[in-house]
Symmetry: C2
Subunit: 392 residues, 2 copies
């Protein structure tokens, strides 16, 4: 019933836009429990499902949503037509469960828009040239929306989520967190890659590449959310836009790695070949013939990564391999950093004042990340949020 | 969980055939509760869903089944690949919810069979030339199986059901009912059109047209079921093969219809135009200038039919329109009837002996049907089953 109400709410909102005269293409994801139920069935059948068949299975989730939404819009007296990814012609490569969009044929959509219909497209899915159904992986529905917005030269791409927009930090941790009115693609990208959950980096990358304005907003109210665009004109210069916390990573350290050229390549090539994404990498400056290399991976891949790393460590005659899941990454992000060299120092100061030890440091042009013990995560976020004036 | 076990059982059976060296194409229908759940969602949204969107929605049921079955077969160590109706290229007309197959492209299936894979096809569904998803209506999965068996020149088409085959009558009514070993397409067609639930007439029609041998058998055991073929060689001549009971019809009678040419056409054209299937039609021999016309329709369409008939009756200046839902149709079927003119008389005798009044009679070349009061249905079935020696 909750699901039906959600669909009816979406239908009402879509119709309200249509009444204002907008030409609308709506991208829909699966109802939450549909996907969970399907995955539950799979788990009872096999621990290692074929990725092609997983895509075949899970793509039904969005197909159900689009059909129901079309019906709900019809019920409100408006014309609507639903399409699967395959029908629209969202052509992808053959990487099942994480396919990349190669091209989109918008003829069918344009044809229906000309008939004044609301077009509803199943997100998250596409089809290979061989007509196999694919899914786009995490954030796939957002990606479908951004890619369609680009192909259709839409004025704006609205992304509806269960939060009101992008916040200066996680409001569940810091109640003083503020909704950010506008943010640049680069900042959003950095936030997403550092663990901000609202949008996946790949959708932002596409939006940035083709300059598609994104409006991230709530499914539950009509308040303005966060605009993500190329440039943001701010009244006052903002150095840090947000503080991101990520507790989903594990740290792996290889001790006593022989310090000779090509060693790092051996380690990380092996991990990459097995499809494991490595996030932060830190190698200590070597003052002997040996060095320690630490890196972080997503916790879901930690076991696989540890096993592989131990094998590689042995082959390169390195020492012990340590794993630590009791960590959190806290990061500050802001385009203003480029012209404010003191941000890193301020961050380290704040953590020191809170008696928090820093285990790893990594920086990019517009972000600084520190790995700390997990139990200090909330304290760190609050202190940084306060210090950089984000709650004001 | 019950669903998962069913899928695993099907996988085991399929694999057992594969081990014997068969080349296999498996057509799967939706898990029972999937369809019910989806229809339940629709009912909460709209009472009159778009047929195109219903097909979009319900076709996910088979898509889920084929993917899960492929995974279950993989788990048993065999290669399998699933396809939707659209992927296989089951091209239909555009009559959503009751589409007719126009052609089937079997290239894709043959390609995968050559790779020694088990091919799993979603039943019940197809796609229009415009790439809209369609469903084939009742018995659609059987139709997919028979049509594929024809196109692939299969040796046999096995239809798995929840019963063990075709019975001489409904075993729930007459415990002496016997499973029929073999039956002709014509008899099966007659039985299906008279209300035998096991298979729909349209699948049998296709099987008959292209001479596809069908084996109707149980999903729950390995016993032989009923073979449906062109001709059946029987040791002894059988006059009547089965007794069929149908309680799903309603009788509508138009009284005092002016007896002039073209009147029947007016009535039944109107019903046909509104998509109402009329079953039995009986018109009394007229000895005045007026006559009564009675016909039966499916109960689900009775209200619509009654309303329409009243309108027509008025326009042709006929009298009262009566409706009776308290009826049952009892029929005997058998190719042997052609050469045994006494069957009708025997049937009427049996009913008379049981003190059952006959309200309508209708005959075809290989069947005789009588409409009687519903409360006599079981008595009639048992008496006829016994008289024609079907329990032996």
């Amino acid at each position: 019933m909750a699901n039906v109400q959600r669909i009816q709410n979406v239908a009402k909102r879509v119709v309200s836009y249509k009444k204002k005269g907008y030409t609308l293409v709506v991208v829909v994801s699966a109802l939450g429990d549909t996907t969970d139920e399907l995955v539950g069935l799979v788990q009872k059948i096999t621990a290692e499902p074929s990725e092609r068949e997983m895509d075949m299975l899970l793509s039904t989730g969005e197909q159900i949503s689009v059909a129901l939404l079309a019906m709900a819009i019809h019920k409100l007296g408006f014309e609507a037509i639903s399409f699967t990814g395959a029908q629209v012609g969202i052509i992808t490569d053959t990487s099942h469960t994480r396919a990349r969009i190669i091209k989109i044929n918008t003829d069918k959509i344009k044809e229906e828009l000309k008939k004044n219909k609301i077009v509803i497209v199943a997100g998250f899915q596409g089809v290979t040239l061989n007509q196999d159904i694919t899914t786009l992986g995490r954030g796939g529905s957002d990606l479908t929306a951004v890619a369609l917005a680009k192909e259709l030269a839409a004025d704006e791409c609205e992304i509806y989520t269960d939060v009101e927009g992008i916040y200066t930090t996680d409001p569940r941790i810091e109640p003083k967190a503020k909704k950010i009115k506008a943010i640049t693609y680069d900042e959003m990208l950095e936030m997403a890659s550092l663990g901000a959950q609202v949008m996946q980096a790949r959708s932002i990358e596409v939006a940035k590449k083709f300059n598609v304005p994104i409006h991230v907003r709530s499914s539950f109210n009509n308040r303005a959310g966060t605009m993500i665009t190329k440039e943001v004109k701010r009244m006052e210069e903002v150095v840090v836009s947000g503080v991101i916390i990520n507790k989903n990573e594990a740290k792996i350290t290889i001790c006593n790695v022989p310090d000779r050229p090509g060693i790092a390549a051996i380690i990380f090539k092996e991990l990459a070949n097995r499809g494991i994404s490595v996030d932060m990498i830190v190698q200590n400056v070597s003052h002997t013939r040996q060095t320690d290399i630490s890196f972080t991976v997503n916790k879901t891949e930690a076991r696989k990564a540890l096993k592989l790393t131990k094998k590689v460590a042995k082959s390169i005659q390195a020492g012990e391999v340590l794993q630590d899941e009791d960590i959190a990454r806290v990061s500050v992000v802001g385009v203003g950093m480029k012209s404010h060299p003191g941000v890193a120092a301020t961050m380290f100061d704040v953590l020191a004042d809170s008696k928090i030890n820093i285990e790893m440091i990594s920086t990019s042009e517009i972000s600084i990340s520190c790995i700390i013990k997990k139990r200090f995560a909330e304290t760190a976020v609050k202190a940084l949020h306060d210090k950089f004036g984000l709650g004001k």
